[in-house]
Structure formats: structure tokens, C-alpha cells
């Protein structure tokens, strides 16, 4: 069987699958750290973008505009060949820095527009009830902004995962690099590219799955709370009749 031979040649012989998994691991590592660090930085940039002080606001907009307007590969090269050129840090670390910056600009823009899209009148209504500015933000604006931002944020992450495929340029052996290496060594590019596509697809779906799971969990957490008054009421009625 030809397929069997191809699978053996590309994945099994010489423990290729281990190399493949290692590459996948590097991709996941860069993506996960970049998403976390980038989102945290993004929150900070978003806060600056909403600052009352004009220069801070302007600086944040400029940061977002520049980082969103430049190719992530150039950013990566800038980090690798210029910024970290003389320091002995691992290329993976450099990639995480570059992708975090990239992610921070996109997530800041995403968070900012989501917050802007919420209804300011509801915040004012909360203030009239006696909530502080911060309480109003966390209880009213944030949950609504999160719902608005979710879709864009999710696709930003998936795009980021795909963009990490360029780290091979700076000597990192990630999933794409491994696919490339194996396919040129075995001269079976089609098979390996399909494997690569499936793995990236898998990562994307994993990401969607995590979001769906978080959604499910948070709605489960709310439901029992909403059910309590029903029972309370029923028992109250019993008391009345008794």
C-alpha cells in the first residue's frame, strides 16, 4: 500500500512524529504565551486609549496604529536582528515578544471598540443608583463589552496562531518548519502539507472549543442562582396556606 509507505516514510521512520509534535509544541507555546501576554498588554493599552489625559490617549492610538499597520514578520525580524541581536535570549522568547506586541495592538483595538459600543446611558443609570464609576464599569460595561468583543477576539487569536507559522524565518523550528523539513527530506510535500493544515485547523477548533466551554460554564454558573427564588416562592406559598 502506497499510503502506508508514505505514512511510514514521513511520520514513523526516524521518529519523525516526535519532531512533528515538538514543532507543534513550539507553535502552541508561542501562541499561548503571546495570547496571554498580548491580551494583558492589550488591556493596558486599551485603558490608556481611554485615558482622560490627551498625550496618553494619543500615544496609545499611535501604538495601535503602528503595530496594526506593520507586517508581523517585519516586527519579528526587527526584534530578532535589531532589538535582541546582541542579547543571548532564545529565538522563541523573541518570537513571543514580537507576537505579544502584535496581539496587544489587535486586542486593544478590539476591547476599545467593544467598550465604545456599549450604552453609556446604562452606566449613568447605575451611577444614579449609587454605584461608583468602577463598580458601574465592572458590573455594567464590562459584561456587555465582553459579549461584543468575543467574536473579534476569537478570530484575532486564530489569526495569530496562523501567523506564528512565519517564525521559521528566525531559526525557530515550529510546526510549519518541521512540515517543511520533513517534506523536503522525504519528497512527499502534499501529504505533509495536508497534515500541517489539519494540525493548524485542529488548533483553531481547539480555540473555538475553549471559548464555547467557557461560555457554557459561565451560563451554568448563573442558572442555579436564577432558579433559587422559584423554590423560595413555592415554599413561601406553602407557609401562607399552612
Amino acid at each position: 500500500m502506497k499510503i502506508k509507505e508514505i505514512v511510514y516514510k514521513t511520520l514513523i521512520s526516524g521518529d519523525s512524529y516526535k519532531t512533528l509534535l515538538r514543532g507543534l509544541g513550539v507553535t502552541v507555546q508561542i501562541a499561548v504565551f503571546s495570547v496571554i501576554l498580548g491580551s494583558l498588554l492589550g488591556i493596558a493599552v486599551c485603558a490608556m486609549r481611554r485615558s482622560r489625559i490627551w498625550p496618553v490617549r494619543k500615544a496609545a492610538s499611535l501604538y495601535i496604529a503602528i503595530l496594526r499597520g506593520s507586517p508581523v514578520l517585519l516586527l519579528l525580524m526587527l526584534m530578532y536582528y535589531v532589538v535582541f541581536a546582541s542579547s543571548h535570549v532564545s529565538p522563541t522568547f523573541v518570537a513571543i515578544v514580537a507576537f505579544s506586541l502584535h496581539m496587544s495592538a489587535y486586542s486593544a483595538a478590539c476591547f476599545y471598540s467593544a467598550i465604545e459600543a456599549t450604552d453609556k446611558n446604562q452606566v449613568e443609570a447605575a451611577r444614579t443608583l449609587g454605584f461608583s464609576k468602577y463598580q458601574a464599569f465592572f458590573l455594567v460595561t464590562l459584561p456587555q463589552a465582553a459579549a461584543i468583543a468575543k467574536g473579534t477576539y476569537q478570530s484575532t487569536i486564530v489569526t495569530l496562531i496562523q501567523w506564528t507559522s512565519v517564525v521559521g524565518y528566525v531559526t525557530i523550528t515550529d510546526l510549519t518548519r518541521v512540515i517543511n523539513n520533513i517534506s523536503s527530506r522525504t519528497i512527499e510535500p502534499l501529504f505533509m502539507i495536508v497534515i500541517g493544515l489539519l494540525l493548524y485547523l485542529g488548533l483553531s477548533y481547539l480555540c473555538y472549543g475553549i471559548f464555547a466551554l467557557v461560555d457554557r460554564l459561565s451560563s451554568l454558573k448563573e442558572k442555579p442562582l436564577k432558579k433559587t427564588p422559584l423554590k423560595k416562592e413555592a415554599s413561601g406559598n406553602e407557609h401562607d396556606s399552612g
Binding site: Q122, E124, A125, G130, F131, Q144, P229, K232
Partner: protein, 384 residues
């Protein structure tokens, strides 16, 4: 002890001065209704009482807390004041019950069960207990507003401020919100209401403020303000509220606009759908009759509609300049001819042409006509 004391506040937006040196004292249990033209500073004045607008000058006290003091604990003082908006502003991500219980649980540290019990009691009061798990976006405007009122009430405010609470509502839903306000009034709540609902204002207010010229232009009991306003602008405003005036100076006048204002007028006085339609119909027929057969070279008509709340009847008054012409008499003649057996095609045709007059005759309670020769005016009074 006064509930709210506003002392000499002024407020400008850029170069536009909205309030100038305005003072007001609201005693406990008072129900104050603020009326006035749009853009007259009513809302800004009301909003400043909860410091939603910060006055440039002057001070505001809630009880003995000074709201305008830089050291004021705004969040604590605001709990004493309930505010209801024209646009409801319910928290769109929370169900009705959570909308109501959010503040007592977080701010008064009330137990969830206790807060929900209290919320349900209030919901029962406004007849919306069945909607407790509904999300705001599935509710009608009237329901949203009643829930917004409950959301404020659960904090047990000492005074409630209402900023045009029925202006964003369909005419059919105004009633349910006004009923809720009446309920509150009955419970002795101190209220300050900005509204355009004149009959409601008259019924519920202990004091009416008419705002104009950047301040309180005239104040008094509902009887004083509505029946016997002292100052000119108040008189004009009240007149405008009671009467719908419209000038027609061209054959191609804006009929749609007129019909629209008649609709608005009707809904303001709670005139029913059917009656409002009749009012529109009769006005239109009368105007066109005079336009088409009035035999005058220039068009100069003025229309005035009014509504008598006691008699539940509306009055159309039309004056049309030109030579004497009474369409009702003429149509009568035509009809008479027909009865006398001389009916021919032309008479039938004439009757068809003056169909509007036939409609008017069948619809109106009373039709009056008079010709003022001095002013060369045909004067009509039609009661519906």
C-alpha cells in the same frame, strides 16, 4: 426639613446658558411637575438635582447633604434619590430580576434571597411579576419603564426624579406608566416630574413650575398655572398646549404635517383612535371644501383645534378669508332638490362633489357657521 434645596444654580454648555440663578426648595411629600418648551432647561435642571449635570455655580442639598460639595460622598447621597429616564436604560445584559436586585445586593449588602423577595413584591405592585426572568429587549416600552421605576424604588429613595418618563412610549403604553406614578404619589413619595402630559400634571401635581428664560418663569398650583397663568409666556405655552393652531396660506399646504400634528394632539389628550381619525377627516374635508369652492383669490385660513376634557369633545375652529360661502347651506339645497324629485345627474354629481360636507354633517355633533363681513371671514365651529 426640605427634601431638596437648590440654591442659585447656573449652568452653561459652552456659550449657551441654560440655567441662570435658579433656586427651588422641594418639601417632603411634594409632587412637583416641571413643564415648559423643549430646550428650556427642564431636563438639565432635573438632572442637576442628581448631579448628572454639574452646575457651574450654586449649591444643591439633598436633605442636609450638600451634593455640590467637593467632599460629598456622591455615591451615598445618590442612593437617597431615584432617577427615571425617558429611555429607561435597563441593564441590557441582565434579566429583569437581576436588573432590580443588582444595586441592593452590591450596595446595601442585602442577601440575594431577601433582595429577590423585595424585588418580587415591587414587581407584583406594578403587575410585572411574570416577567421576572425576561431580558429587557423582549419587553415593551411601558414594561421597561415600570421596571426602571422598580429598580429605583428598591433602593428606598426619599425622592424620585422623573425625566419625561412617558415621552419615549407608544400612546397605548403611556397609561400603564402614569398609573404606576399615581400609585407612587398615593404612597406619599416626594416626586419631581418633567413631563408633557398636561392632564396628568394637573391631576398629580401639588405644584407646577413653568420653566423659561433660563429659570423658573412662573410657579403655582395646577389651577393657577393651567386656568389662570399670570405671565405672558406661561399663557402662550398653556394656550399652545390646549390648542393646536395651524395656518394655511397656500393651496399646496403640507397636509401630512397637519395630520401628524392632529395625531400628536389627540394622543396628548388621550383621544381615542377612532375619534382622532374623525378629527383628522373632518378637518381635511372642511379645508378642502373651502379651498375648492371658497371662491376667494388668495388662501388665508387659520385652524384651531381644542379638546374639552370634561365634555370629551373636540372643537375645530376654522376661519377662512374671502367672500361669504357656506358649504353646509349649499349642500342642504342640493339635498332638498333631490327630495323634491327634481334630482338629475347634475344634482347627484353635486352631492358627490360635496361628499366631504356630507361626511362632516354625519360626523359632527354640532356645526356652526358665521360670516364676519367686517373682516371678510368665514368662521366655522365644528364640534366632534
Amino acid at each position: 426639613m426640605s427634601m431638596i434645596r437648590v440654591e442659585n444654580i447656573s449652568k452653561s454648555f459652552g456659550s449657551l446658558e441654560v440655567l441662570k440663578d435658579v433656586s427651588l426648595t422641594v418639601e417632603k411629600g411634594e409632587r412637583i411637575v416641571i413643564i415648559g418648551e423643549s430646550g428650556g432647561g427642564k431636563s438639565v435642571f432635573l438632572r442637576s438635582m442628581d448631579l448628572l449635570e454639574v452646575p457651574d455655580k450654586g449649591s444643591i442639598y439633598i436633605g442636609d447633604d450638600e451634593l455640590t460639595s467637593p467632599k460629598a460622598d456622591l455615591n451615598r447621597i445618590r442612593r437617597r434619590v431615584g432617577f427615571v429616564y425617558q429611555g429607561f436604560h435597563l441593564f441590557s445584559h441582565l434579566c429583569v430580576l437581576d436588573n432590580i436586585t443588582l444595586a441592593p445586593i452590591r450596595l446595601l449588602k442585602m442577601k440575594r434571597a431577601e433582595a429577590e423577595e423585595k424585588a418580587l413584591k415591587l414587581l407584583r405592585m406594578v403587575g410585572l411579576e411574570s416577567k421576572k426572568y425576561a431580558m429587557p429587549d423582549v419587553l415593551s416600552g411601558g414594561q421597561k419603564q415600570r421596571i426602571a421605576i422598580v429598580r429605583s424604588l428598591i433602593m428606598e429613595p426619599e425622592v424620585m426624579l422623573f425625566d419625561e418618563p412617558t415621552s419615549a412610549l407608544d400612546p397605548t403604553m403611556v397609561g400603564e406608566v402614569l398609573a404606576t406614578l399615581r400609585l407612587l404619589a398615593k404612597s406619599g413619595m416626594t416626586m419631581v416630574i418633567v413631563t408633557h402630559e398636561m392632564s396628568f400634571a394637573r391631576e398629580i401635581a401639588t405644584r407646577i413650575l413653568y420653566m423659561d428664560e433660563k429659570g423658573i418663569y412662573e410657579e403655582g398650583t395646577p389651577q393657577e398655572i393651567f386656568d389662570n397663568p399670570k405671565r405672558k409666556k406661561t399663557r402662550d405655552f398653556i394656550h399652545k398646549m390646549k390648542y393646536l393652531s395651524y395656518k394655511i396660506d397656500s393651496r399646496s399646504f403640507d397636509l401630512m404635517q397637519l395630520q401628524g400634528s392632529i395625531r400628536d394632539f389627540a394622543s396628548k389628550y388621550g383621544i381615542g383612535e377612532k375619534k382622532a381619525y374623525r378629527l383628522q377627516l373632518c378637518t381635511e374635508e372642511l379645508i378642502y371644501e373651502m379651498l375648492d369652492y371658497g371662491k376667494s383669490d388668495c388662501v388665508d385660513m387659520s385652524l384651531e383645534l381644542s379638546f374639552d376634557e370634561k365634555e370629551k369633545s373636540s372643537l375645530i375652529r376654522l376661519s377662512s378669508k374671502g367672500v361669504e360661502y357656506n358649504p353646509f347651506e349649499k349642500a342642504c339645497d342640493g339635498l332638498g332638490d333631490g327630495i323634491h324629485g327634481k334630482a338629475d345627474v347634475s344634482v347627484g354629481g353635486d352631492d358627490m362633489v360635496h361628499l366631504g360636507i356630507t361626511i362632516l354633517k354625519n360626523t359632527a355633533r354640532r356645526i356652526g357657521y358665521r360670516y364676519d363681513a367686517g373682516n371678510r371671514e368665514n368662521l366655522f365651529e365644528i364640534e366632534i
